[in-house]
Amino acid sequence: MGEILKIDNLNVYYGSIHAIKDLSLYVKEGEIVTMIGANGAGKTTTMHAISGLLKSQSGSITYDGRLISKMDAYKIVTLGLAQCPEGRRVFSGLTVQENLELGAYTRKDGKAAVQSDFEMVFEMLPRLKERRNQLAGTLSGGEQQMLAMGRALMSKPKMLLLDEPSMGLSPLLVKEIFKTIVRVNENGVTVLLVEQNAKMALNIANRGYVIETGNITMEGKASDLANDSKVKQAYLGGAA
């Protein structure tokens, strides 16, 4: 399968801070690729550069054969690239149902197709169905994460960017979220996953990148990274 996402020599600045330095990576169609790294390494910045919320100063991001690094965020979504942002960011004043409807905001393939995706999301995340008329702000953290993922899936993406989906959740919920990610991927959605929970992430991913202070310092098959002594020491909390 070909590369669905390709980043070449990306540079992103916050004012005078050089947050991302000549970063390159690629994701092939159908893969789960994870990017692991410490707080402040540049994971979220990279995600925002891909989804268009942040503009890069140089380098290129190509998605599905199109250059998207200069494109507005709201247009990138229509190409089938959805982001489930860090911290969930559900619309707390809207109901679960309304949040999911906004996820399908750009869809032009008809009510029936959107309806069948509602069913798909509710089947995959049954808690959302129970709470569909509840305001999103009243959901628990885990439910909000599910809603954020469901909302991203409602745009019928070919590729999903997931930013720290396990943040702040109990181990049991983390397991559930990761199971869902695998299911989403099995349904044909390519996944780029940013995580601090490196162990879980490497466990489900095909390949991985390690990012440190805006640079990719290691890359390889997820299983190789999981067994690498440096990765183990720095990110897996284990002895080498």
Partner: protein, 293 residues
């Protein structure tokens, strides 16, 4: 009986404030800025109705529609030219720009139409309503103003809560970044908000001048400030709040004028605002900002 008369005309004046306050509160809720030029859009709307209806002899409906169209264009243009370039600037810069736009509009009006007062003819040509065997007479303007404002507010609440675009507006208001990730064109939504607010300002101008018929280039300034107070009073960002705040403000102002002092009525209005904000800083219907995480 007299009290009832003062009360009803207060509600009517308050309905005009409410219409203007809706524009303030929607723009604040969605674009996160205070558009101090909003009052002057009323004035422009007033002149448009004056030239088409009062001295042009147009049908009043057509005249108001024309004024709404002009103000909508004006609102969108102001946002595009003056505010959009400052989207990521500090809010103080935007505030000062808004005040600048306000002066600009007043001075353009003065240049084009001179500062001598124009005498506005009411757009409503119905007989006053006579109640209680002629003891209470309510001008048709008063009744139409209240009805129009209530209808507009109901329509707006329906629009924001029940339509796809309305939900997109709520989403932009809550989290601009996340809204973009849904594929919502934030600039488009902000333009739409300015368009709606400015169209309502034109209606407010026509209704206000029908009851208070003196039109000068600064006509919009004081109602604009009072409507801003009404929006804060009701809880800025909240549509029902703007309406409640507007009506209460109008009633307080009118009753103070009738029973306390004409000169002091504005002071009393602002005093009530200060007291409300001391007791409830988010305004009467303002939302608490705490969100479960």
């Amino acid at each position: 009986m007299q009290f009832l008369g003062y009360l009803i005309s207060g509600i009517s004046l308050g309905s005009v404030y409410a219409l203007i306050a809706l524009g303030y509160t929607m723009v604040y809720g969605i674009a996160k800025m205070l558009n101090f030029a909003h009052g002057d859009v009323i004035m422009i709307g007033g002149y448009m109705v004056y030239f088409t209806f009062c001295s042009g002899g147009w049908n009043p409906f057509l005249a108001v529609l024309f004024a709404m169209a002009v103000c909508t264009l004006l609102g969108i243009t102001i946002e595009r030219v003056a505010y959009r370039p400052l989207r990521s600037a500090p809010s103080l810069a935007v505030l000062i720009t808004a005040i600048g736009v306000s002066f600009l509009l007043q001075n353009i009006a003065m240049l084009l139409w001179k500062s001598d007062p124009k005498s506005f003819t009411s757009i409503i040509s119905m007989e006053p309503l006579s109640l209680a065997g002629g003891k209470l007479s309510i001008p048709a303007e008063t009744i139409v103003t209240i009805l129009v404002s209530v209808l507009i507010m109901i329509a707006l609440i329906w629009f924001v809560n029940k339509t796809r675009i309305g939900h997109a507006m709520k989403a932009v208001s809550e989290d601009r970044g996340a809204a973009q990730l849904m594929g919502i064109n934030v600039n488009g939504i902000i333009s739409l908000t300015f368009a709606i607010g400015s169209a309502l300002a034109a209606v407010a101008g026509a209704l206000l001048l029908s009851s208070y018929p003196t039109l000068v280039p600064t006509t919009g300034a004081m109602p604009g400030i009072k409507a801003f107070v009404a929006a804060v009073f009701g809880g800025i960002g909240s549509i029902p709040g703007a309406f409640l705040g507007g009506v209460l403000l109008g009633v307080i102002e009118n009753l103070s004028k009738a029973y306390i002092s004409t000169q002091l009525s504005d002071a009393i209005v602002f005093l009530v605002l200060i007291i409300v904000l001391l007791v409830k800083p988010t305004g009467l219907l303002g939302k608490k900002t705490a969100v479960k995480v």
